[in-house]
Every structure is written in structure tokens, then in C-alpha cells.
């Protein structure tokens, strides 16, 4: 029963979802929204499962003095500070007139968000620039015909996307400069490839969904 029940639920919900796409009439038309709301509710409550799991693992690491256990203290302290400040500001906001949210500008939570969370997240995103450089350095090598095509496409798009490309090719007639090459690559070979991949992905999604709905694919339930 432990496996049959999820399979039956998947089958029923899957078929209803497919029908609701083609039948706008009630009750089918509303079911998509209804199930989505349920998913949001379940996912929202499940956040606590994750948060508690994170705390549990961190405390285990600290108590057993596992490798780099000190870093777990950072997680625990940061987690508690953010949660406590959020609750404090939320509670304080209830007594304001008009009531304010913990996320409103000027709150302690907003300060943490603006001056700690934002720079940390931006830093991680900015690292991408360095990794793009090192990955290009290593991967864009003319080892064979396919790799040479990749190299040329990458090279031309990178050159054409900044004014440098047009400066270097300024002697060429209008419409034949580096930015035009880059646009051509992006609009034709690249778009064709993207479309082919997207069609494949769409079919893959249909096939996987059908296998799961019909209970043919069960490895996410039973390994």
C-alpha cells in the first residue's frame, strides 16, 4: 500500500491536470489553480522540515566535533539571528499604525537583508565572471573540428558583444562588422540549436510525465 497510494494519487492528479488543460468548464478549469495552491501550502510547511534538518545536522557536527565543526556554529548563529530579528520586527510591526511588515524599509531585518544578504549573494553571482574566464581558457581549444567551431562561435560572440569588436572591424562595411557576426550567430545557428534542444526537452518531459502518471517509472519511489 505504501507504494500503491502515491501511484494512485499521481495517476488521478495527472489525468485531471491533462483534462483541465483542454476543458475550461468547471470543475476542471479551476483544478489547476486548486492543486497549485495546495502545492504552495505543502511546500511552505515543508520549509520547516528542511530548516530543522539543517539545525539537526549542524548540532550533530558540533557535538561530535566533526571536521570543520566550527563552521556549523556560523550556520546556527546566523539562522537564529535572522529568524529572531524577523519575528521581532514582524511582532513590532503589528503594533504600528498602519501595520508594517518585517520586510519594510528601515526595519532591522531590512538592514540585514540590504547590508549582509545582498552583498553576499551578489559576490557569489560575481564569481561567475572569473569562472567563465577560466572555463573558456580551458575549454575553448581547437582540438577537433567540433571544438574549433565552438571556439570560433564563442570568440566571435564575445568580441561582437562589446564595442571592441566594432572598433577592430571598423574598416569593414556596415553590416559586416563584429557585432553583426555576433548577431548572426545568435539569431541563426544558436537559435536553431536552442529550438532543437527545446523540442527534445519538451518530448522528454511528456515521456517522463507519462511514465510517472501511469506508474511505469517508479524509481523516485523505490530506487
Amino acid at each position: 500500500m505504501k507504494r500503491e497510494v502515491p501511484i494512485i494519487i499521481t495517476l488521478v492528479v495527472g489525468i485531471v491536470f491533462i483534462l483541465s488543460y483542454f476543458i475550461p468548464h468547471a470543475p476542471f478549469g479551476e483544478l489547476e489553480t486548486f492543486y497549485n495552491e495546495w502545492f504552495s501550502i505543502v511546500a511552505s510547511f515543508a520549509i520547516w522540515l528542511g530548516a530543522l534538518n539543517l539545525m539537526k545536522l549542524s548540532f550533530i557536527r558540533i557535538s561530535r566535533k566533526q571536521h570543520d565543526w566550527q563552521l556549523s556554529w556560523v550556520i546556527v548563529i546566523c539562522f537564529l539571528v535572522i529568524v529572531a530579528v524577523g519575528f521581532y520586527d514582524g511582532y513590532a510591526g503589528l503594533s504600528n499604525n498602519p501595520q508594517t511588515s518585517f520586510r519594510d524599509p528601515g526595519t532591522n531585518f531590512d538592514w540585514l537583508y540590504t547590508y549582509i544578504y545582498t552583498p553576499l549573494s551578489s559576490t557569489m553571482f560575481a564569481i561567475l565572471a572569473f569562472f567563465v574566464a577560466s572555463a573558456s581558457y580551458r575549454a575553448f581549444r581547437a582540438r577537433n573540428t567540433a571544438a574549433t567551431l565552438l571556439l570560433l562561435a564563442g570568440f566571435l560572440v564575445m568580441l561582437g558583444r562589446v564595442p571592441l569588436g566594432d572598433i577592430l572591424t571598423s574598416y569593414l562595411p556596415e553590416g559586416w562588422r563584429a557585432s553583426d557576426w555576433a548577431s548572426w550567430i545568435m539569431n541563426f545557428p544558436h537559435t536553431a540549436g536552442q529550438r532543437a534542444i527545446k523540442i527534445g526537452v519538451a518530448l522528454g518531459i511528456v515521456s517522463t510525465s507519462l511514465r510517472i502518471i501511469l506508474g511505469i517509472e517508479r524509481s523516485h519511489l523505490e530506487g
Partner: protein, 402 residues
């Protein structure tokens, strides 16, 4: 008494009839007292107001169309759509469009009420008294819900073709028919990659993407995780699955638990193999980078939906010397994985991986069905190209999404 009521109704209808075509009114909200006395030009009203049921919907909405006022460019600032549940009014403004626009969809209606509409052309420049002219009333009309969305008829046919092909091939595979599935290097390398981790005595790290369980890529990632977990259980290799969504943690944990049980190693499984890190995209990337740098896993799998964190993860794994296999349906992340990983499952290969790894005929049959559907699409695209070249654009309807 009855005759009297009929008389008054006729009288009211007569008054309305003669007063409707051009009624210059003022928009009280927009009147500027100092300019009220100055005569302002009145735009001609919109004509031919037609209200129809919005097609292919669940009822509760109507579509209003009208011919633009002859003064659309010269005088009109906007059009107001007015609605009432009785022909005699009162009419209330339910929508506005800017000049030049002649359609409006009115939603949030009831399927059991008669509605009447009129459209007004409004001239309301700043600081000047607004003037307006209303069209005749249209109605009554009731919204109706449809039982089939005809805009999606071709999608329905395509769905039948694709699903039918998949089911037919699954049936053929079940009956014992030999099916050829091309080799996919990335999937063939899975066992070898895990074997390497076993030999080195290091762990295998599996990242199922950053989306929740409502994304099919995540589901595909978790199904492959089930197969991978079976091999790590058989090889007695350490498996670490950090996830970014709580629901994924719950489902992935069950998949791994079942895999270890099936492999006859339930003792080797523990809940913390699959653990939650954070929902935050870059927080997740930072945490995994930290784990990779500290623990130096021998093998890394990235299977699921990835965004900008893909290269951050894959480059760190590459620097740590891990053998890396990635798979995603996100076309914009594929170049990053191709550059940094040893093997990359491109798009549909991610969805085929579970079937390929299991070698179960019914799963492989679904892959063949998928190929058939792809061939059908290719044929439709080729015919579409020819059709457009010869001017038969009607053919493109079969590829439209409504």
C-alpha cells in the same frame, strides 16, 4: 395595472432610445471648476459595439469590441466600458482602454446574470473639463463556459499522437520486441564514475538542481538518483545529496532509502545522506562549493534544473579534480556544463537516463515512442517550411499553441 407598467416600460425605452446615440456628459471626477464654464469639444461616440462570450474559457467573462470613434486620433483620450445588469442602468465603468484600442475582456462575471454594455469615448486632457459620448446599449448577454478549448485542438491531437506512440512502443517492448537505443556516453560513464569514487575511497556527491518537485527536471534528477544510489549501495561508496528544497529532500531521501533496501544494504543508509542546505540560489552554490573544497568528492553528478549557479558548481568540482556528469534541460546552462564537466546529458538525454540505466523494456519503449514523436515533429516542420514557401500559411495552425 399591468397595462400601466407596460406603458411606463415603453416610455422609458423610448426615452433611452432617443437619448443614447450621442450623449455628451461630464466626468464629475475630472471637472476643473474654473474651466467648467468653457465649452469643450465632445468626441463622436464609438459605434458597432458587439459583446460576445469569450471563447474557450470557463465562463465568467465577455469580450467587448467596438469601432473606434471617428475622433479617435483628434479628440479621444481613452475609452470607458460601462456595464449594467439592466438595460436601463445604472451603468458603471468596468474598464478603460487607451485610444486606438477597441477590445476589452470583462472578467469576474456571473454565468447566470444578463449583462448590458455601452462604450464611451472620453476626452479628458489634464486640467480641462472631461467630455464623453456613449454608444448605444448592447445586451443582454450571458457568459457561457465551454467544454473544450478549441484553441488547443491541435495540441490535443499532438498529445494523442505522442502519448499513443509512447504507449504503443511500451506495449511492443513488453511483448519482447528487441529495441535499439543509441549509446549515451554520459550515462554509460555513471558506473565507471562511481567505481572511481569507490577505488579512491571518496564520496559521490549528487546535486538534483535548485527547483522544487513540481519541475519535471527535478523528478528526472531524483529518478536517476535512485539508480545512482543503488550502485553506491552495491559498491559501498559514500553518497552525499545536498538539496535546496525541503520537498526534494523528503522525496530524494525515500528514493535513496528504497535503493539501499533493494540493494540489500539498508544498514548502510542513513537519513543524513540527503540533507537540506538552503532555498537560496547562491547560498546553495556557496555551501556546495565549501563542501567540495573541504571534502574533495571523487565524483559529482548534476542532474536537474540549474540556473546561473551551474558554472560556479561545475568549475569548483573541476578544480577539486572530481569526475563530473551533468544533465539539464536548461539550454542556457548546457554550455557551462559542457565546458566544465566530463560528460553532459543534453536536454532529452536527462529524461532518458533513468530508462537507459534501468534497461527495463517498458521504459526503453517510451524512449522509442519519444523518437517517433520527434520524427513526426520534424516532418511537420519540413512540411511547414514548404507550406510557407508556397504561401499556404494555414498549415502553421497545427503547430500553434493557444
Amino acid at each position: 395595472m399591468r397595462d400601466l407598467i407596460v406603458f411606463f416600460r415603453c416610455l422609458l425605452a423610448g426615452i433611452l432610445f432617443f437619448s443614447l446615440p450621442v450623449v455628451a456628459q461630464t466626468d464629475s471626477a475630472a471637472v476643473a471648476p474654473d474651466t467648467a464654464a468653457i465649452q469643450q469639444p465632445v468626441p463622436a461616440p464609438p459605434v458597432n459595439v458587439i459583446v460576445t462570450d469569450t471563447p474557450n474559457d470557463n465562463g465568467r467573462s465577455l469580450e467587448i469590441r467596438w469601432d473606434l470613434s471617428p475622433d479617435d486620433q483628434a479628440l479621444v483620450t481613452k475609452y470607458q466600458v460601462l456595464r449594467s445588469s439592466s438595460q436601463s442602468g445604472p451603468f458603471q465603468v468596468v474598464g478603460e482602454t487607451t485610444k486606438g484600442q477597441n477590445t476589452f475582456i470583462n472578467g469576474d462575471l456571473s454565468d447566470s446574470v444578463d449583462y448590458f454594455y455601452r462604450v464611451a469615448a472620453v476626452r479628458a486632457p489634464a486640467g480641462v473639463m472631461a467630455t464623453m459620448a456613449e454608444s448605444p446599449v448592447f445586451g443582454p448577454i450571458v457568459p457561457v463556459a465551454q467544454w473544450f478549448n478549441m484553441n488547443r485542438i491541435w495540441i490535443f491531437i499532438w498529445t494523442l499522437v505522442i502519448c499513443g506512440a509512447i504507449l504503443l512502443y511500451i506495449r511492443a517492448a513488453r511483448s519482447g520486441k528487441e529495441l535499439y537505443v543509441r549509446k549515451i556516453a554520459g550515462i554509460d560513464a555513471v558506473e565507471e564514475a562511481i567505481g572511481r569514487a569507490t577505488e579512491m575511497g571518496r564520496k559521490v556527491m549528487y546535486i538534483p538542481g535548485i527547483q522544487d518537485m513540481d519541475d519535471v527536471q527535478t523528478i528526472a534528477g531524483v529518478t536517476i538518483l535512485g539508480r545512482v544510489a543503488r550502485i553506491t549501495a552495491e559498491n559501498d561508496t559514500k553518497l552525499d545529496v545536498p538539496v535546496s528544497k525541503s520537498l526534494v529532500m523528503v522525496v530524494a531521501r525515500e528514493a535513496v532509502r528504497e535503493a539501499y533496501q533493494k540493494a540489500g544494504r539498508p544498514d548502510a543508509f542513513h537519513d543524513d545522506m540527503v540533507h537540506y542546505v538552503t532555498d537560496d540560489q547562491f547560498g546553495y552554490a556557496a555551501a556546495i562549493d565549501g563542501m567540495v573544497v573541504r571534502d574533495k568528492p571523487a565524483t559529482m553528478f548534476y542532474m536537474g534544473c540549474f540556473f546561473a549557479e551551474s558554472l560556479i558548481l561545475a568549475e569548483t568540482g573541476n578544480a577539486a579534480g572530481a569526475i563530473q556528469i551533468a544533465g539539464t534541460g536548461q539550454p542556457s546552462q548546457l554550455p557551462f556544463f559542457v565546458a566544465s564537466c566530463d560528460y553532459t546529458l543534453i536536454g532529452e538525454e536527462l529524461f532518458a537516463a533513468s530508462a537507459y540505466l534501468s534497461r527495463e523494456p517498458k521504459l526503453l519503449g517510451s524512449l522509442k515512442g519519444q523518437d517517433f514523436a520527434k520524427a513526426a515533429f520534424l516532418l511537420a516542420i519540413l512540411v511547414g517550411i514548404v507550406a510557407v514557401l508556397i504561401g499556404w500559411t494555414g498549415f502553421l495552425k497545427i503547430l500553434e499553441v493557444g
